[in-house]
């Protein structure tokens, strides 16, 4: 294998694997530090994720959210932008889902509900990313800071709306009225029942297919359209992109709006698919998790799906772990998320000089 192919293998496979492994080993250290056997913990975690049907259902339901936010972060990364605003975009996307559902006549067909709510999530999520994108493109405002600010603004806005506008009169809890039945996305366990299989109940609903569908869409968009080509060119070499006649401002806005729209789809899974009403903080943690998923999955839909499932396993397994062991909460998953972002993101090239020196050294010039 010549040197270039070796370096390719290192970059594409070996390095990411090593990074993820390091994150796992670091987590094992944390377990040891709090007097928990990492092997035992892993067993419980895997059992929780796979060991029983309800667990599998939850794993995939969590994975669905991570696919949406992972795709969102990845699209922005391809344009060279870091979208930390996934939390806010997911939250506002859910607002869009809810508003569309609540405004359509309850007797409308489910098909219209599904299309409408998907559209609502996309548009609202995209709009929430539009302002920071515009400010970056046309005013030079640092998109990372503005999107973080917009995360907080989303929280405040949603609290206000839920407490003052959307709350049912006479109710104490800040949530909207229940969505009409026709808008509820079918649960997988219900579909299974209708074709003769009985599986345990779980929040898993057809949103997972929506997620897979959008994964394919993103794959086509990024690698098989001229706009995706322009986005990738800009992210890899902005000077060459200028040479090619690509306009950077348009790329910023295009990629960020698509990114926000994808994050907004979390509303489909959580609200139209599970909660069936707008509640507070349904989005919590998925935006940041999307960053870890995109980094782990190296911004490619296939990698993202795998990473999202992994995170689903961690989330569900983590819940099981918190249930089984007295002094662990689901926050251990947050720790793991952080370590993955650290080793697959900030320190992603840490091992590379050594790997290249050992596996693909420069031959000395004769």
């Amino acid at each position: 294998m010549n040197r270039n192919s070796r370096i390719n293998w290192i970059n594409r496979l070996l390095l990411p694997l090593l990074n993820v492994l390091t994150a796992f080993i670091a987590t094992a250290f944390v377990f040891v530090f709090i007097d928990v056997d990492p092997i035992e913990a892993t067993e419980i975690l895997l059992y929780g994720a796979f060991g029983y049907q309800e667990g599998i259902g939850y794993t995939l339901y969590y994975a669905t959210n991570f696919i949406f936010t992972g795709l969102a972060v990845a699209v922005a990364f391809h344009a060279g932008l870091f979208n930390i605003g996934g939390e806010g975009q997911a939250y506002i996307g859910g607002l869009g889902t809810s508003l569309v559902i609540l405004m359509i006549d309850p007797n409308t067909s489910p098909l219209i509900f599904i299309s409408g709510s998907i559209l609502g999530s996309l548009i609202f999520g995209g709009l929430w990313a539009l302002i920071p994108a515009y400010l970056q493109a046309y005013r030079g405002s640092h998109i990372v800071i503005t999107t973080i600010m917009f995360n907080f603004l989303a929280s405040s806005l949603m609290v206000y709306l839920l407490v003052n506008v959307l709350r049912q009169t006479g109710q104490m809890t800040p949530e909207s009225q229940l969505f009409p039945q026709n808008s509820w996305l079918p649960f997988i366990h219900n579909i299974a029942e209708n074709i003769g299989f009985t599986i345990e109940e779980s929040p898993l609903n057809i949103s997972i297919f929506v997620a897979l569908f959008f994964s394919i869409l993103v794959w086509i968009f990024i690698w098989h359209t001229r706009w995706g080509y322009a986005i990738r060119a800009t992210g890899l070499n902005s000077t060459a992109a200028l040479y090619a006649g690509i306009k950077p401002k348009r790329i910023i806005i295009l990629s960020m709006c698509i990114s926000g729209a994808l994050a907004g789809l979390v509303g489909i899974n959580e609200l139209a698919g599970y909660q069936h009403r707008l509640i507070m903080d349904f989005h919590f943690g998925y935006g940041f998790g999307g960053i870890a998923v995109a980094l782990m999955g190296r911004n490619h839909p296939i990698g993202i799906i795998i990473a999202a499932i992994l995170f689903g396993i961690l989330y569900q397994g983590g819940a099981e772990l918190a249930f089984e062991m007295d002094n662990i909460s689901r926050d251990i998953i947050v720790v793991m998320q952080a370590l993955i972002i650290l080793f697959c993101g900030a320190l992603q090239y840490m091992y590379r000089p050594w790997l290249i020196r050992i596996l693909a050294p420069i031959e000395k010039a004769s």
Binding site: F152, S156, Y160, D331, I333, V335, A338, L342, Y349
Partner: protein
Amino acid sequence: MEDLLLTFILTLDAAIRVSTPLILASMAGLFAERSGVVDIGLEGKMLASAFAAASAATILGSPWLGLLAGILVSCALSMLHGFASITHRGDQIVSGVAINILAAGLSIILGLAWFEQGGLTPTLTSDQRFLSLTLPGIELINNIPLIGTIYRELLSGHNIIVYAAFIIVPIVWWIVYRTQFGLRLRAVGENPKAVDTAGLSVNKLRYKALLVGGVLCGIAGTYLSVAHNAQFTRDMTAGQGFIALAALIFGKWKPYTVLSACLLFGFLDALAVRLQGVVIPGIGEIPVQLIESTPYLLTVILLAGFIGRAVPPKSVGVPYIKER
């Protein structure tokens, strides 16, 4: 009239308490960004040190040991950030985000393991905390009409970290503008090449800046759990690290302007608490969320260039590589 004045003074009093962690954290961010390193991780460092300080104060019985623990933890995280962004030239934002999430998760996990109180640390007793100090001469001044009230309510009665924060700002100003370290710090942030060709180490300077920031963040975090409150609770920083960042930008990276921005944000926060439920004729009740959002809205407006330009140090966010 008396009432309104008293309310105003009390609000200012609350504002000072709320601003303190912002002041300390934004000064920490100032050092980092002036040297050219983006520090999104202020939030995580404050949270981690809040946890460490409360834990140490409980276990070892002294708020000062808690302060030491808080500072050590915050510095450790700063060095991690430096390792990723300076030595390995990794993405500084990603590193900061990782630190934030790590602090959030680890503080709960360790808290559960050590104290078994659902993530909280045990409530600190009085001698494990920094308590409010009464400034000298209060008996004499107390009876003077306006000044006495101001002295009693506004100036006296804060804990030592609050006073420290306000003293630290002039010290920071002095370090940045009147010392060799400050000159080099500012140079590294504007033109690292100039520093390199002058024979100085860009990386060492940046590490030093992060270390100073680590100490300040450590004090900020300690304040939250050991002085202002009496324990560590989940996510107790509540975004103050980001507000500190916003204040830093709003204050254009200059110590005294940043201090004013922090006080402004603190005041708005205290005002929000006061205005809850208050009805303004003609407008109705001001949504508390609107007032709470003001720091974030102001930052966005500033970044958009509508209230003057916020020009950061030129080399902020760019890892230094000797070019070919």
